[in-house]
Amino acid sequence: MHFSFSEEHDMFRDTVREVFAGECSAEAIRASWESDDGRVAGLWATLAEVGVLATMAPTEMGGLGMDEVASVRLLEEAGYAGVPEPLMEHMAVAVPALAAARASQLLDPALSGQSTVTLALASGGPNVVAAASADLVIAEHAGSLLAVDSQAVTVEPRDSIDESRRLFEIRFDPGAAEPLVGADLALAADRAALGTAAQCVGVARRLLDTTVEYVTERRQFGKPVGTYQAVKHRLADVRLGIEFSAPLVYRAAWTVAHCDDALLRGRDVSMAKAMASDAVDRACRAALQCHGAIGYTFEYDLQIWLKRGWSLSGAYGDARQHRDRVAAALGLLR
């Protein structure tokens, strides 16, 4: 029993944090909203260069050979930075699925950053992130996974409130797609929920940091609004949500990486997503309220993380849906 990250994990996390701090500022995110593909210029290539995209591929296939314990840490940082790329979909789900199917021709460009792969799983709902700018879609069909070339996909835009999430309904001919034999659908869905939970924790941390900074600066009645207990207690509650959801995310990451029992794996992932969704919802509410009117504007950057929090809280199952899954694992729901 040793529940902590290795030095290697910490160093990788620090590297990625620096990349995001340098290349994924709020200005860069806003610029991506104005671009055709909705992507941050140059970021994908850097993520490939430092190995992030290859985290979850085995070394013999050109990857770093790391697992979910490493990836959740990076995705937490992605949430913190507000990264608009389909990073979770690509790095935490598609890459290991392509590797499991030994689909080298599709995997190699995904690791080098030449391609972007997104996901269309039933558990993620009908709207596919970044489907128009992706080169490949890993899609669920009849209980298994298919690789669908973007050329063979027709997309219908859905207008998300989160400008960083370009959503599309997609259509394709399953008969013309490549089955990913060897890739496990249930595992992919668990990885997506886990990766989303990790991002939720990161988003919540960012909302809290931003709000603590704001209420320390902002003065009313001659003193910082952060001196008032009503504000303090609300932000303490946000910290509580983060403090007790993050370990469940790390623990679920370990379970996904090491446990073959799909029921236990699903239970642990769902516990993590339920807590993380609740934590980020609470963080969104408190952050907006503690900012007051300035937080309610489009110009102020808080909105980047508010909207990410709203969308990720429900993505790949909201808290209630995941508690139902835990209920089933506990024998309380048939």
């Binding site: 902590s4 603590v212 910082p224 952060g226 001196t227 303490a236 370990w254």
Partner: protein, 380 residues
């Protein structure tokens, strides 16, 4: 990261499981706050001690077995899952003992620790006063040096185990000219000291619970000051960290309660009416929170074992477990429906859990600490 228990820990788990199974009392005990129940629980402390299981995390020299934090957490999980009686010695073992280890003289350690471990001396806490609750630094009870003794005058209240305990650990004012946090001392007072009277205060449910303690020219040996005279605040706060954090409420207790709640809900789901979806959601939420507390604790434990410090983060744990415990029991009562108001273990647990957000520093105080010391928000 490795979340498997190594063979050493599995062996440890088996050992405590077996011991608890073989030594568990056959009849339920009376309340530890009744005269009979207190002595029953004292006998159980002795049984634990003789089996080597009363203070497993302590050094062997004082009756422990030098457990590391992981072993201690496993011990606690098994202890509470087994359903054996609670610990009448908890105030001493979890609150005072860490302070004696940190601040006590060798003579104090050698005298008090073995007696605490065996249940020979059971301790009550004497911190709160009628005018000093959340504002603990407002204590007025005085202790004036007179030769080899201190002469104590004043009143303590809400002393858990206060009526029958053998000793009381108090915060008293030894320098009447000093203000607030200064001039306080940490004084250990034997319950048979002349000039002390104790009166039971009945709890919310009518059971005898805590006590108020009156000191009227009560003489206590100056050898019983823990730490330096005048440093009582710092000495007490070191214990407050352990009270709020790991040592007072380990995850095992809540995991056991969450599992009982799950079984109650599972039983209801077999009935004709089935289990209401909203209540099911609450049950699952309680179960998840118990797991979250467990894994957060293991995460913190790994940091502590690597030489880290718990500090103000203990306040996060105190708020979380106390509110989780309350919600868990409130959910149980909702499951019981019309039967909820009839006395039962669940009702007793609920009434007990209502105190959680109040004792050991109210959750309002804890949230202030989280905001100011963890988040760094301005005090004024």
């Amino acid at each position: 990261m490795d979340l498997e228990l190594s063979p050493r820990y599995v062996e440890f788990r088996d050992e405590i499981q077996t011991w608890l199974h073989e030594n568990r009392p056959t009849e339920p005990f009376s309340s530890m706050d009744s005269a009979d129940g207190f002595e029953q629980h004292r006998v159980w402390e002795r049984t634990l001690f003789e089996g080597g299981w009363s203070v497993p995390a302590w050094p062997k020299a004082y009756g422990g077995r030098d457990c590391d934090l992981t072993e201690w957490l496993i011990y606690e999980e098994e202890y509470w899952l087994s359903g054996v009686p609670g610990r009448v010695s908890a105030n001493g073992v979890s609150l005072l003992a860490p302070t004696i280890f940190n601040f006590g003289t060798k003579a104090q350690q050698d005298y008090f620790l073995p007696r605490m471990a065996s249940g020979e001396q059971i301790w009550a806490q004497g911190w709160s006063e009628p005018e000093a609750g959340s504002d603990l630094a407002a204590v007025k009870t005085t202790a004036v040096r007179d030769g080899d003794d201190y002469v104590v005058n004043g009143q303590k209240t809400w002393c858990s185990r206060g009526k029958y305990a053998d000793w009381i650990f108090c915060i008293v004012r030894t320098d009447p000219t000093a203000q607030r946090h200064a001039g306080l001392s940490y004084l250990l007072v034997p319950a048979d000291a002349p000039g002390m009277t104790r009166r039971t205060i009945r709890r919310l449910d009518g059971e005898s619970g805590f006590a108020e303690v009156f000191f009227d020219d009560c003489r206590v040996s100056a050898d019983h000051v823990l730490g330096e005279p005048g440093q009582g605040w710092a000495v007490a706060m070191a214990a407050a960290g352990s009270e709020r954090g790991l040592s007072l409420r380990s995850p095992g207790r809540f995991m056991a309660a969450a599992e009982r709640l799950r079984l109650l809900a599972a039983e209801l789901s077999e009935t004709a009416d089935g289990l209401d979806a909203r209540l099911r959601d609450e049950v699952v939420d309680a179960w998840i929170r118990a797991e979250a507390y467990r894994w957060q604790t293991y995460f913190v434990a790994a940091e502590l074992m690597a030489g880290g410090d718990l500090g103000s983060e203990a306040s996060l744990m105190k708020v979380f477990w106390s509110e989780m415990d309350l919600e868990l029991h409130a959910t149980a009562l909702r499951l019981l429906g019309d039967e909820a108001e009839v006395h039962s273990d669940w009702l007793g647990g609920y009434v007990f859990s209502l105190g959680g957000p109040i004792y050991a520093g109210t959750n309002e105080i804890q949230r202030n600490i989280i905001a100011e010391r963890v988040l760094g928000l301005p005090r004024r």
